[in-house]
């Protein structure tokens, strides 16, 4: 017998553990450093932007639209799994506790996100609407109250049997939210109290009624949970490998040339690596991202010899990430039984990786040269790629591929 009462706690703990694990992987990937850098750069530009905005900037309207969307969009992680459709369906009546806990946790995280976004927009509020910590607290309070209301009724809304019905009520909520936020930013508190009355009526006499009329829409809840989960995975996937995420294949016909080799036995492995690389969603995207982030660093760090170290840092990041392309084949029997010796396979892999590194170095060189006019250091960048691939790459390969297989 499933103990439904403990189930939520168990699932939430598993979810938290997984999130933390992925978070530490993200922090390790080195890309998080560049994110922090982006935030710093972003905040500088934010301050500049605020000064540059005209006096008649429609701040109230823009903030109203932003928060109306934010309040209306009420995602609830139920942590349901596919098997639940079979195993939990019989204990549906006992699920009340489970879902009320998932709603509470959605309210907690939803309130946090609302507060976070409001804090981000606070500088705009300060310049165009009002200032003072009392106002910050007041606005935050009203926004969070609205978020709680939205999540609560959005949960009841999820009992409606068709997407289109749900959408109608969602639109209604959007209108209510819009008026509410608009009144709030105009500081019309009397009207705001009237809005509370309307929300009260809606909650008790419209949304509560669904509870009596409909059960849970299991399949829709599950579909929503899976969409939310995938979204999270996709975000993490920018930084590290997510095994649960089925990798997508892109045809990219323009890159076909790169994977075309003459019909010889020795070209088989390079062709396989190149084709996998150019068509995979993750490896190719990663290469482009690393090159672009590298450009950003070359741009931000003051010019000088140390820029070569920046380039080498990015060679290292690329190398470490691309090793998974080889280990991906480790469980492929067909790959393993080709009449090609394993050291030949590994050498081919290294050669292929060297090509990518050289190209990366070349791009950095050109970028740096054009940026600073210092063509000596620019020229040394592809040279550094070559040296790196000759000195560091073999030992790394040994550590990550030969020893792991």
């Amino acid at each position: 017998m499933i103990d439904v009462k403990k189930l939520w706690r168990k699932r939430r703990n598993a979810h938290l553990t997984q999130t933390l694990k992925y978070f530490s992987l993200m922090a390790n990937s080195g890309l998080i450093v560049s994110l922090i850098l982006l935030i710093i750069v972003g905040s500088i530009y934010y301050a500049k932007l605020l000064k540059a905005l005209p006096q008649d900037f429609p701040a109230v309207l823009i903030l109203t639209v932003l928060f109306s969307f934010l309040l209306t969009k009420s995602a609830i992680r139920t942590l349901l799994k596919e098997g639940d459709l079979v195993f939990l369906l019989p204990v549906e009546s006992g699920m009340k506790h489970y879902f009320s806990q998932s709603l509470s946790s959605a309210i907690a995280s939803g309130s946090f996100v609302t507060l976070f976004v409001f804090t981000l927009t606070w500088p705009i509020v300060q310049v165009f609407i009002t200032d003072g910590w009392k106002m910050y607290v007041t606005f935050a309070f009203f926004l969070i109250a609205a978020k709680v209301f939205n999540l609560y009724v959005a949960w009841e809304e999820r009992r409606l049997p068709y997407k289109s019905y749900q959408l109608n009520y969602k639109i209604m909520r959007f209108i209510v939210n819009f008026v509410y936020v608009y009144l709030l930013f105009n500081e019309a508190y009397v009207f705001l109290i009237a809005m509370f009355a309307i929300m009260y009526v809606l909650k008790n006499f419209v949304f509560e009624v669904f509870k009596k009329m409909h059960g849970y829409q299991w399949e829709m809840l599950l579909a929503e949970e899976q969409t939310l989960k995938l979204k999270g995975y996709r975000l993490v996937n920018y930084f590290t490998d997510v095994p649960a995420l089925k990798q997508t294949v892109h045809k990219r016909p323009l890159l076909n040339m790169l994977g075309t080799f003459s019909f010889k036995k020795k070209n088989m492995m390079p062709a396989l690596f190149m084709k996998t690389f150019t068509r995979s969603g993750d490896y190719f995207g990663l290469y482009i991202r690393l090159i672009l982030i590298g450009f950003l660093f070359l741009y931000l760090v003051p010019p000088g010899w140390w820029q070569l170290a920046v380039a080498v840092l990015f060679f290292q990041m690329l190398t470490l990430q691309l090793f998974t392309l080889y280990t991906q084949y480790k469980w492929n029997v067909i790959f393993n039984i080709y009449p090609i010796e394993s050291n030949v396979k590994v050498t081919a892999f290294m050669k292929w990786l060297r090509g990518l590194l050289l190209f990366q170095g070349l791009l950095y060189g050109v970028f740096y040269g054009v940026l600073t006019g210092d063509w000596l250091i620019a020229l040394l960048m592809p040279a550094a790629a070559l040296v790196y691939s000759l000195l560091r790459l073999p030992s790394l390969t040994k550590k990550h591929i030969t020893l792991s297989s």
Partner: protein, 247 residues
Amino acid sequence: MKPILEVSDLTGGYMPNQPVIHNLNFSVKESEIVGLIGLNGAGKSTTIKHILGLMEPMSGSSKILEQTFRDEPEIYRSQFTYIPEIPILYDELTLWEHLELTAMAYGLEEQTFLARVRPLLEEFRMDNKIKWFPNQFSKGMKQKVMILCALLVEPKLYIVDEPFVGLDPLGIQSFLEYMVTFKNSGAGVLMSTHILSTAERYCDRFLILHEGRLVLSGTLEELRERSGLTDATLDEIYLYVARGKVT
């Protein structure tokens, strides 16, 4: 007839001192199809993995044309192709690229490849799908890609693990016809399957594995003799063995 594959005293498994297969002795000769049959967990896949050179024997050996994998890995592996039970494809490669890369890996000349590949594609009705990616294929079509890759090379030995599941009847027929053709031109086939009626019609000899041991082997006639079941079908003999009546 010359033996192509010779397995002698082969013992092996996944953990030291816990062998899954015990002292297997058998061979696959030129121009012969040998059926490897046994219940789930009898050790068929483990046996095949040892022959492929993916597992190291605890004792005994598996030789192809008198060489073990340890002696000459590249030569050993170029003598056979393998059709796995579950099709394993490269998600990023088209059907054509699978065939092309396989041909390259086995050192075929481009002319030979082009001459062989067209009739194969037509026979398995895949000729209009050469630009497709694996995610567009059904299970049966993926199985066909594996079969095409294996047949393309025309090696001395074919190792086939349960080829019929998911394959349409026409596909099964085409595959069997190819097997017979290659057999008649001197190749050997080791085929593991649960479809006993098909095995009975196409295999020249049978190896019946039970709990990691070879309990019965030989032609259908010899199996009948050894089990004492005259006029029995392969099905009946197999059930008899599987219930532990032969030791």
